[in-house]
């Protein structure tokens, strides 16, 4: 069981690490100067990661395994909608407060924030939630 949990956690961290690298590359971030990091991509990244962490904890220890599928899917969709709202808000605010330092990348908020949440939960949801996200039943073999 520990091996399975470890695999899932490492997998989630890996996906969010790639997302973080994408942010660095697309915003051309100077990692050595944290004071100059773009705020809104990081907010979306952190929000998406937090949503995934909440999903993982809820699915692991809070939601009863025998709950019907609609409960699991409902919780997952709720968190997904929060990530989408967060990405949309970040896109709007980023565009509103546009500066010369960073060129806005609104698509990255959706592809990165929402995509990372979707991909991480598709591939690395905990045991009883492993088939909740479509099309996990076809791809989850571990």
């Amino acid at each position: 069981m520990m091996k399975r949990v470890l695999t899932e956690v490492v997998g989630i961290l890996f996906i969010y690490a790639i997302y973080a690298i994408a942010v660095v590359l697309f915003y051309d971030v100077d990692i050595s100067a944290p004071e100059n990091w773009p705020i809104w991509p990081l907010v979306v990244w952190a929000g998406s990661f937090l949503a995934m962490a909440i999903w993982y904890v809820l699915a692991s220890v809070v939601i009863a395994p025998q709950q019907p599928l609609r409960v699991w899917a409902g919780v997952w969709l709720l968190l997904l909608s929060l990530v989408i709202i967060g990405a949309a808000a970040a896109t709007y605010v980023e565009d509103f407060y546009q500066t010369d330092t960073f060129q806005p990348n609104p698509w990255l908020h959706f592809v990165g924030g929402v995509g990372a949440y979707y991909l991480a939960s598709l591939l690395f949801s905990p045991l009883f939630a492993k088939y909740v996200v479509w099309p996990a039943r076809f791809v989850r073999k571990w």
Binding site: M1, V61, A64, P65, Q66, P68, L69, L127, F128, K130, Y131, R137
Partner: protein, 496 residues
């Protein structure tokens, strides 16, 4: 090794119920390997409610046997064969007079007829025996000794099976019945002697044992019945019977004799002297007797003195408090006793399976789920019917468990059960406990299921769910059997 059990009368049938449940829990062969228990029921009242219940449980158990649970599974491992009930009576309207052809006897052999008249009153000779011997072992002993025929029917089956079994090791025959009633009191010693005389010539490695039920229940006398067992006389009858066993040197015939009883006696809810109404609820004394039977079957009695040595060992088991029964009170050869561990694992399995796992899995027809994955490619309907068979049996086990933990006792004494918290799975209905419906048992309460167990060993349903998804590596395991086995193993891991 072959194990044979002969259950006589209602108590013998009730002990058989316990033996089936304990076999299902894997107690018959703790060290592994599948054993066969061949059981034979004897009762003049073929429609006795306790026998009907025993046959019902047997059918439920056997319906689960084809499920492939793996070769190392303790769960439902043993083959149980049940034959009977055999009745010593020729027909349903039999009486002593008709069984011994009294009218004819008076003509042909008046001395025997006079002897019969001397030993038995007219009422005793005329009373219908269709519903048992009504607490008159003297009638039963005479009827049994003239009607057992090893050439036909059930006795031939026992004789043949015992003969063919002796090539593979010891042949152990265990008898069970009450000492204070009619059928058991008459049948157990009579059948024991007849079996010993018949079999010991052919089978050198024959071992015999018996459990004698001392008074452990009572009931109100049945109105308008002149001849019936009188509960007030049970103790006196038991005392006389024990003297009989001693004087007739049954300790030289048997390798082991277990005598179990209880005081104050449990009150039976329905007073009846036979037929379907005589369906007395199970009692924990039958659990103790069942453990004794398995101890006899599987223990190394051969290492100790043999009956022929004239040396006997008396082992006493009692409980710490008269009004309670805890895990520590159950006789065990070691602590922790692997048999009790298996029993607890089976109890947890039954509760988890019936109340949580099976109701959930049965909704997974069109849902992909890690538990469903264990069923593999087996067609859903086949898997579901196997899972349903397990559930039906498990319900019968839980009903039995609930009954032995909720005794209604005679007098002011209240029984305090210290094995499981009956309120986790049971509820009061018409002053009797019954199982809660599915959905009414709370997941968190299962942690408190076992009483008087260490705090660290509180079972958790979520953990059982999680562990149940673990693949079990074994031979001859597939389909629903894989899932059931995984749940069973999860109950062991969660309990520890």
């Amino acid at each position: 090794m072959s194990y044979f059990y002969v259950g006589v009368g209602g108590s013998g049938a009730k002990l058989m119920q316990a033996l089936i449940h304990l076999s299902a829990a894997g107690l018959l062969s703790v060290d592994g390997g599948s054993q066969v228990l061949k059981a034979f029921l004897v009762d003049p009242d073929k429609s006795n409610g306790s026998i009907d219940e025993c046959k019902r449980i047997y059918d439920l158990y056997n319906a689960c046997r084809p499920i492939k649970l793996g070769e190392k599974a303790a769960l439902l491992r043993n083959d149980v064969h049940l034959s009977g009930p055999w009745s010593p009576l020729a027909d349903d309207r039999a009486s002593m007079n008709s069984e011994f052809s009294y009218a004819q006897l008076q003509q042909v052999n008046p001395v025997d007829a006079d002897l019969m008249e001397l030993l038995y009153s007219e009422d005793d000779r005329n009373v219908s025996l269709a519903q048992g011997f009504r607490g008159r072992p003297a009638i039963g002993a005479a009827v049994f000794s003239q009607s057992i025929d090893f050439g036909t029917g059930m006795w031939n089956e026992l004789y043949t099976a015992a003969q063919s079994a002796h090539a593979f090791g010891d042949v152990s025959i265990f008898l069970g019945g009450s000492i204070f009633g009619g059928s058991g009191a008459a049948g157990v010693p009579t059948i024991c002697r007849i079996l010993k005389e018949k079999l010991q010539q052919k089978i050198q490695n024959l071992r015999m044992g018996m459990v004698l039920f001392l008074p452990y229940f009572t009931y109100k006398k049945i109105e308008d019945e002149t001849i019936q067992a009188d509960p007030a006389q049970f103790s006196a009858a038991a005392e006389e019977a024990l003297k009989y066993y001693d004087e007739r040197q049954f300790l030289d015939i048997c390798n082991a004799i277990y005598a179990v009883g209880d005081t104050p006696p449990a009150r039976m809810p329905v007073s009846a002297f036979g037929a379907k109404e005589q369906r007395n609820p199970p009692h924990y004394v039958e659990l103790i007797a069942g453990l004794g039977a398995f101890r006899f079957f599987t223990n190394g009695w051969n290492k100790g003195p043999q009956p022929s040595d004239g040396v006997h060992t008396v082992s006493l088991a009692s409980r710490s408090e008269e009004n309670s029964l805890t895990w520590k009170d159950i006789p065990a050869e070691a602590r922790p006793d692997p048999r009790l561990e298996l029993l607890q694992q089976f109890i947890l399995f039954a509760v988890s399976y019936h109340y949580f796992l099976f109701p959930f899995i049965s909704t997974c027809k069109d849902r992909k789920h890690p538990l469903r994955d264990l069923i593999g490619m087996t067609p859903w309907n086949k898997a579901l019917s196997e899972l349903q068979a397990i559930d039906s049996y498990v319900v019968s086990f839980l009903e039995w468990l609930l009954a032995i933990c909720t005794q209604d006792r005679d007098g002011a004494s209240v029984f305090s059960n210290g094995l499981i918290d009956v309120n986790v799975i049971g509820e009061m209905h018409d002053l009797q406990y019954r199982l809660k419906p599915v959905g009414q048992v709370h997941e968190e309460k299962v942690a408190d299921l076992f009483l008087n167990r260490p705090e660290c060993r509180r079972p958790k349903i979520r953990a059982i769910f999680a562990k149940s998804t673990d693949f079990v590596s074994d031979q001859n395991i597939e389909g629903a059997g894989m899932l059931v086995r995984a749940i069973y193993e999860a109950c062991n891991a969660s309990r520890r």
